[in-house]
Subunit: 326 residues, 2 copies
Amino acid sequence: MTDASACSIIGRSLARVQQMLQEIVASRIDVLHAAARRAVDAGGKLLRPRIVLLAHRALGGSDETSAIAFATTVELLHAASLVHDDINDESSTRRGLPTAHAELGARLALITGDFVFVRMLHALSASHTDILPGAIRLLADACAALVEGEAQGVLRAGDFGMTENEYFEIIGQKTAALFAASAELGAIAARAGAEASERMRRYGYELGLAYQIRDDILDIVASAGSLGKPVRCDLAQGKLSLAPLFALRSSTRSSEYLRPGADPAHVVQFLHSCGALDYAATCAADHASNAIRALEALPPSTARDGLSALASYAASIESVTSPQSY
Amino acid sequence: MTDASACSIIGRSLARVQQMLQEIVASRIDVLHAAARRAVDAGGKLLRPRIVLLAHRALGGSDETSAIAFATTVELLHAASLVHDDINDESSTRRGLPTAHAELGARLALITGDFVFVRMLHALSASHTDILPGAIRLLADACAALVEGEAQGVLRAGDFGMTENEYFEIIGQKTAALFAASAELGAIAARAGAEASERMRRYGYELGLAYQIRDDILDIVASAGSLGKPVRCDLAQGKLSLAPLFALRSSTRSSEYLRPGADPAHVVQFLHSCGALDYAATCAADHASNAIRALEALPPSTARDGLSALASYAASIESVTSPQSY
């Protein structure tokens, strides 16, 4: 995902984050422990921890302890939100494994999400105390945004009157706010000044937008059967994203295709033929470019290259929007 | 609930807690804002904030800002846990008002609980920074205990083999841990030493046990139609508490009465006649006495009297366990 050298400079810290994640969700209650461990594993790519660690390095930080604590914190938040999302979406699998919801039922899944969430406090408390107050204020806002974004997603499901601006507002809250907080926490751990912190925040936010747009495209494309994901299209649940929103305002044939029960393969073909998938892919690439541009003022470093590589990854959708892939 | 003078010494701070609670759950998303406001209102008696504020005063504290921040934090935690409990228990009313679950459905109720929960970080960040690290570590443990207690409650529902010790362990986690944390947060705000903090912690823990035993008795008694509560008995959901556990080990007729679908009035009559309700009431009173004893080493003050009064209140069940009340 990142180039080899960027991986290696944070490799050891990332391993400590993974270890801390496993240790922190320990519980005397076996069922809860196992479910929390799976929830943390399901997060997968550790994108947010990578951002914290690379941002910290790119700004010349040397407080690895706090960077690791913050990296663990944001991953716990992400993992907890996925557990609760899976309940609300009634998802049965994530990354090929059964969700907590599928395995334990909604009651224990709700509690598992709460558990992973509250362990965030424990991770946070491992950071150095001089930067803790600032980190908490930042996380307080990011968490509120995350939850408000989820609420908007539920409230606006099936609303074909949603505008593109509203879509960006929702993904800004639901996804980009935590990416922005991750990058800024790296800056806080590095004791960076206001300007560098703001630059990192912007990097994270733009990267988060690119990443969510990409994820929404993949969700649509994968629903047609590629990528080995189960056919569970957000669109089928009434969740509109950038490509269908583009189609709705640019093609009069949209309502014919974007209706409940439509064949996913036909939907993808239509979104491709009317240019909606390309439009969304271009938007993702633009935001990834914005993210990379936000790093320009930083001195060149392997860590900065790593952050750029993450941004490029977040926009790497060309291959899946071409016809042969679905 | 407390004597008038104790109320008046924390009256102004309690009003600021109430104001902070209202302000902190503000959201641009109207539905979420309204639901979170109702969740915070549903908490009711502000028992935990009262403990924080009185403990802070009883230890000679003068950092009202941090005490108020901590008081708001523990109430948000409590309110959030009630919202999620109501989903898991499928409760339709609380304090005579519809629950978030009943009003908005499980999806938005889950998000409402998450929202109230994350706002805790905001409240916490209003405390003075020198005591923030200690407060976070303490809350991290209390939150984990709270969630683990909930998990145990779900996992052990319907388990007639549960022992009294296991019951105490569960209510210790589910309820007493947050009461203990509340009292200790008051001590932290007062910059009290380790011994005084430990004393407060014990006070809160014992009070929490008394309070939960009392609440469990009231749940059983109220299910027979008194107190104006809806007939929704934890026992009918398979949740065992102290009185039925006593009956199960002391009366061979227990299985005749403590079965699903039993008439609540008959259950209460039986638990009364076999001495189970008296036993539980005595236990509650004992723990309340322990709580009051933990305060003995403190210098006499109106605040200390207030804490004692809260403990007495937590054991005030005599009136409802006598036959004429059901």
